[in-house]
Chain length 148, copies 2
Amino acid sequence: MDDDDSGSLDRLAARLLVQGSRFSRSMSRHTGEQRSLVAMRVLSNLLQDGPLRIGELAARELIAQPAMTTTVNRLEAEGLVFRGSDAEDARASVVTLTEAGSAVLMSFRARAAAIARPGLVQLADSDIAVLERAADLLEQLVRSISSR
Amino acid sequence: MDDDDSGSLDRLAARLLVQGSRFSRSMSRHTGEQRSLVAMRVLSNLLQDGPLRIGELAARELIAQPAMTTTVNRLEAEGLVFRGSDAEDARASVVTLTEAGSAVLMSFRARAAAIARPGLVQLADSDIAVLERAADLLEQLVRSISSR
DNA sequence: GTTGATATATACTCACGCTATGGATGATGA
DNA sequence: TCATCATCCATAGCGTGAGTATATATCAAC
């Protein structure tokens, strides 16, 4: 049983990785969004949690700090975020979402939703519940992975 | 009710996209795998379905054909796949998994599993079942999205 | 057998990740 | 106080991987 269990858990992990990445690729591709998924997740972070430092954003999105600097540069050039200085630490620069940035994020979400909706509405309520719970669990798994 | 439902479906779609992409990013990052997730998915496709054409692989992974040519070039240079000619169509080139490619894929899956396992073993059986079902549903959603 | 469609490869550009490193600021302790 | 070390971010340089446009070979249809 133990062997069986760990075997099936391993297969589950591999499947989640493959299907999760394919799903995000598919969705972002079909939205026609030019910006990267990391850029969208940055906007999402800022909307949810307010202004954040470059380093904090990099840590959350699991990319190196210079890559986040580049991403923020691009977002700033487009007027979707702006940099401010941190009152508590002059080294840090704090990234804040603009109205335009919020609008871009909302538009992206709406397009993603429009693409997924036809597939989602065909699902039974129980399957919708499964996906809701799965989103929670994935978030939890990411935290559990990062904290080691 | 209708408004509520479509609103919550839309939020679900956005969350699945964000969490799904973050999860795959996290996993692939922590495996230390140098190759791209697309490369891994190509190997996975070949293992599951046998030899496939370049164009078919590109379509499945939602990347343009030249990008898939490049990916296959790299995999071939590493000896993980080889190109053959299609008996039925001399224009096509058929990509086949090698033993080495299969081994690389298995190793990747094992590493991914090792990373996810500590998080997974803490979950209740019902949550494991949720994730299993969610992987199915995501696969189904991708197909439903692509077919339009 | 000529024409048009299709499968792949090549050329070129850009986005985006990484490491290494530098400059500015914060924190620590003699 | 000031010297030292750590930390935060930016810059530089590099490689991968995605895109479009286009060339080449082959198939299909008339």
